[in-house]
């Protein structure tokens, strides 16, 4: 659906600010608590229990932008769902769970009300599914554009946050699910963020580093590789979405799968994979390679410099 209309009666400008806020409250429904825990004050006040003792607070933000992350071919309900889901995926990658979300919306006064309603209803459905109260936000005028930015506050599920920086030479490299073809398959707006999987992995001490794959494996993996190390990946091992070739699996982006490293012997990595398959029998976990010293021979391994992921700001 095209988000804008030249029929003023169909647009947010017809409602005005106060009425629009009332509508948004209704569209969000039970996904939004009452003030001060929800919309309606200068800040949202989070419950005092939001941060359990011994857990670490997490904060992340990601937008969806008309013309970049979605277009007229994507249903507005899917746009709302994707906005929250891509932030939840970041949280999953640290082994976190959501506490609360706020949404900053910059929109043209010509934005269609039915577009906006479907957007908020999609957001609300995903928020309920993943126990993420939408506690507030802001709406501002942005002539000619539509930018929705969501900030997610969360906490770790165990005492540690799994960062990108814990990997070492010798660690195995593994990934959840299958890669590639996210745009053509519709996965990019219909995926389920790997929250349960991320929490499970964070509880395993042998998981040394983790991130989510959003710009393509070939590009994102660099963030996990420590100094004086290089990744040895094997093309035949990379799990591909049906119909995808190796290049698509390495570079398409928007996979929203978990990429992580595992410390220990081959037997330890196999044990992790076996335990995983009992916990998540329908989701593949695949060991795709290993971190080697930068000076090691690369025989048989992929030359990642031949593959480029998604480059922003070009």
């Amino acid at each position: 659906m095209h988000p804008f209309s030249d029929q003023p009666a169909q647009t947010v400008a017809a409602l005005g600010e106060q009425n629009l806020l009332r509508h948004i409250r209704r569209w969000l429904g039970s996904a939004m608590p009452a003030a001060p825990h929800g919309m309606g004050d200068d800040c949202a006040v989070l419950p005092a229990t939001a941060l359990p003792r011994g857990k670490r607070p997490l904060l992340t933000v990601d937008p969806v932008i008309y013309g970049e992350h979605f277009d007229d071919a994507i249903a507005p309900r899917a746009v709302g769902r994707k906005l929250l889901a891509r932030n939840l995926s970041d949280l999953a990658a640290m082994g976190g769970r959501p506490v609360a979300a706020v949404v900053s919306l910059a929109l043209d006064p010509r934005t269609r009300l039915d577009w906006l309603e479907a957007f908020y209803r999609g957001l609300a459905a995903t928020a309920r599914r993943h126990q993420t109260p939408v506690v507030g936000g802001d709406i501002a005028t942005h002539r000619g554009g539509l930018v929705a930015s969501l900030t997610l506050a969360g906490v770790t599920t165990s005492s540690r946050a799994v960062t990108r920086s814990g990997a070492a030479v010798g660690d195995f490299i593994a990934v959840t699910g299958v890669l590639g073809g996210s745009l053509s398959s519709g996965h990019h707006h219909a995926f389920t963020p790997r929250l349960a999987e991320g929490a499970w992995l964070a509880a395993r001490r042998e998981v040394s580093a983790m991130m989510d794959v959003s710009d393509g494996l070939a590009k994102d993996l660099h963030a996990l590789v420590p100094a004086r190390a290089k990744p040895l990946l094997f093309g035949d091992l990379i799990p591909r979405r049906k119909g995808c070739d190796l290049r698509a699996a390495l570079t398409d982006g928007e996979d929203y799968e978990l990429l992580f490293t595992v410390r220990g012997t081959p037997a330890a990595a196999a044990r992790l994979a076996a335990d995983w398959s009992r916990a998540f029998p329908r989701t593949p976990l695949t060991v795709i390679g290993r971190l080697a010293p930068a000076s090691a021979p690369s025989a048989g391994a992929l030359d990642l410099s031949a593959y480029h992921g998604f480059e922003h700001l070009r």
Copy 2:
């Protein structure tokens, strides 16, 4: 400064994403902690001490948008400063103090590097001044636009958050500073958020409700007025910026002053004002009216329906 350039070498597109992130780290300097407490991971991890026992977590978000909140006449350094300061003002209005900020930037690839550098240096200076670590964010492409959205996590300075909803009939209405002329005087991008003042007021039990004035007193005040009550304001009492008439003071907006209600006798309100003037000798606190039953006579009070504040989405 105009934020865009048609000379590719002067723009963010010339740098590319990874180089740009390195530059941003440098521009933010000590305002950004190292990962995982700063930029560079899927989420920012906040220090475990971020939320002291007995305090309430707060969350707020506000954007600055090219063409709406700023234009070519505003220095980019002032834009960065304003982005953080307007969020700090929301925190001040709850009696809060900042814990961490994340910034979501949607920008045209033609955005000038020198514009962006000055923007981040302004943001960083304000962040250092108010002890607000910038712990992360996101940068995405937005052809034709420039939207910066900042989310602020904070905590209350006392055991309570002062909301908009605590006022009752009989409470006095008071405001800090002077009102009106924010745009013409430059106050809208140079103001100091009232963090110390908000914390001081939140510690006074007689302060029953509070908010910041951003869309004009005449519009914003409604949010503090409970059901079956009406505000009686007296025009001669409204503190005006030099050169402003009453209408400007009531409707201009972007004052970023604190508007609050005080429970108790006239003597209690006078005592609060006297204590204030010792704590903040250079900042006026003015009692401008009182909350009356909706049925009470309005003799001598302002007819607020004749004054309209800033309406968004028109």
